[in-house]
């Protein structure tokens, strides 16, 4: 039981940190533009595909460095020549634009790389068990995923809270006019933040591709959960996004690992149902089967009991 718990926690952490790598950029971009970027997870997918292609010729590590840079530049261009123009037409137009972009990227990925799953592999260098516990192995690659996420977040935290540019970004998000009047080029700052946010999503794609498989539907699969996280955490709140990411990562991981079925739970409650009961399909559901809908269940609960999200501020 203990080993199940430990491994589920570690795997939950891997997922949670990965989710936060997407959610952090999405929530930052939301606080700047006031609009959810539906194409955010598409940048994650592009990260995985670019890294796959680069890795074919130059190996995994080149992909890890160059794919996020390419994705970041693409993101900045999208902001500069797409969103900034659409922005004048209002939030609905922006929303529709990002929606369209998400479809466009998915189609483009299918066009260039095909609809099948790509054989994008983690590097041989990390192909060994990091440690063995109770006879079970924890792959080094997962340890690497945790390490790189934590390193990036610590770096970002320092830049955002301690550096001059970080302070300018914070102020520009809440008071763009005032910051502009002090001589800072706010549109350039926003483009930069959009680019870095996209690059972060790209990094997530690069390191998740080998584990979660690289296929044209990967943006939709993870994207919906990332939206849930940003809403649960409170739109615009980095701390909230962090808590919600880890929470959902762990929750899903525990649900999958628990291998409990509805009958077990109902028995725990002292209830018993016969095999021929009309709702028998429902009673025989197992927690691993329910795991994928848990985030959405949590979303509904949070929206009912705390509409602003865990750390969200009330709208004025």
């Amino acid at each position: 039981m203990l080993e199940v718990f430990i491994f589920a926690t570690l795997n939950g952490l891997v997922t949670g940190l990965l989710l936060f790598m997407l959610a952090s950029g999405l929530t930052l971009i939301f606080s700047m533009m006031g609009v959810l970027n539906f194409a955010h997870a598409s940048f994650y997918m592009l990260g995985a595909y670019f890294a796959y292609s680069i890795s074919l010729y130059f190996g995994f590590w080149s992909g890890l460095i160059f794919a996020p840079i390419i994705v970041g530049v693409l993101g900045a261009l999208v902001e500069r020549y797409g969103l900034r123009r659409v922005h004048q037409q209002g939030h609905v137009a922006e929303l529709v634009f990002t929606f369209g972009l998400a479809f466009l990227i998915e189609e483009a990925v299918q066009f260039f790389w095909g609809a099948d799953t790509k054989n994008y592999q983690s590097p041989d260098l990390l192909d060994f068990p990091l440690f063995t516990l109770f006879g079970q192995e924890f792959p080094a690659y997962r340890g690497f995923m945790i390490g790189i996420s934590v390193a990036i977040f610590i770096g970002l935290y320092y830049v955002l809270t301690k550096s001059r540019i970080g302070i300018i970004i914070q102020a520009a998000i809440t008071h763009p006019h005032t910051v502009s009047n002090l001589g800072h080029n706010v549109p350039l700052i926003f483009m930069g933040v959009f680019g870095v946010g996209s690059a972060l999503a790209g990094v997530a794609g690069v390191i998740a591709g080998p584990v979660l498989t690289t296929f044209p539907g990967m943006a939709v699969v993870l994207g919906s959960i990332v939206f849930v996280i940003v809403v649960i955490g409170g739109l615009g709140s980095l701390a909230g996004a962090f808590i919600a990411s880890i929470l959902i990562g762990l929750l899903q991981s525990y649900a999958i690992a628990s291998n409990l079925g509805m009958p077990d739970l109902l028995n725990l409650l002292g209830l018993e149902f016969g095999r021929d009961h009309p709702l028998t399909d429902l009673w025989t559901l197992t927690l691993p089967q329910i795991a994928p809908i848990l985030p959405f269940l949590l979303l509904v609960l949070v929206l009912i009991f705390r509409p602003t999200g865990l750390m969200g501020k009330r709208e004025q």
Binding site: A171, H177, T178, S180, G183, N185
Partner: protein, 231 residues
């Protein structure tokens, strides 16, 4: 240094500035006076590029109408808005840092010097700006703009709602700014400090300049004060 010629501005369809003309020379303290709603704030916002200008605005002989706010600020035009827009979650020191330009070393103002002048701010250097009193926020707002080392600073109603003692401090800071060779455009409704420190004054009414003079000439012009200033 600043030459505004036939400046018009609109909010939607309402024609707010209807041909404003005035100028400020190097190192001069000039006040822009007028009743509520005549368009004084709109004038400075339009100069700053926050409201779209029509007409000519020359700063240091360069046309700035149509330029972006940050470009205008970087040319040496400082602006302190009337709403005391400090960054409430950032510390006092961070607020001041935000005012600095990238080449802060050549600035005639430094953060430590500001703290010396205003011990109230110095003691709260690491405190969030949002917890300061109204007067302290006004000081912070002015100091923040000064950190960017402007050659002309436009200050919109710095004394509004402040206690007389703080108004006195604002007046002292304005004097200090002028002493360092920075020109000032002071937007005010009350005559009190404007008469005391200004070299020249403009009075605005209904989107136009209706009077130009010195403190002495305005004091003598009872009819102007009665028609355009007194409530």
């Amino acid at each position: 240094m600043l030459n505004v010629t036939n400046l018009h501005a609109y909010y939607g369809k309402s024609h707010i500035l209807q041909g404003v003309n005035f100028n400020i020379k190097e190192g001069e303290i000039v006040s822009l006076l007028g009743r509520n709603g005549v368009g004084r704030s709109t004038t400075v916002k339009t100069i700053m590029g926050e409201v779209e200008p029509q007409g000519s605005i020359q700063f240091k002989n360069i046309e700035i109408a149509g330029k972006k706010s940050f470009e205008i600020a970087n040319m040496g035009l400082g602006y302190v808005p009337e709403n005391r827009d400090i960054f409430p979650t950032l510390t006092v020191r961070q607020n001041l840092l935000l005012g600095q330009k990238s080449d802060a070393s050549s600035s005639r103002w430094s953060i430590e010097e500001m703290f010396g002048m205003f011990p109230n701010l110095g003691e709260r250097a690491e405190v969030a700006g949002g917890v300061l009193s109204g007067g302290e926020q006004q000081m912070l707002c002015m100091c923040r703009t000064l950190m960017g080392d402007p050659e002309l600073i436009m200050i919109d109603e710095p004394t509004e709602g402040l206690a007389p003692k703080i108004v006195e401090q604002v007046a002292e800071l304005l004097q200090e700014i002028a002493n360092r060779g920075v020109a000032i455009l002071l937007v005010e409704q009350k005559l009190s400090i404007a008469l005391k420190i200004s070299h020249r004054l403009y009075v605005m009414g209904h989107g136009q300049i209706v009077y130009e003079g010195t403190p002495d000439s305005l004091m003598a012009a009872d009819d102007v004060r009665a028609e355009w200033l007194e409530v």
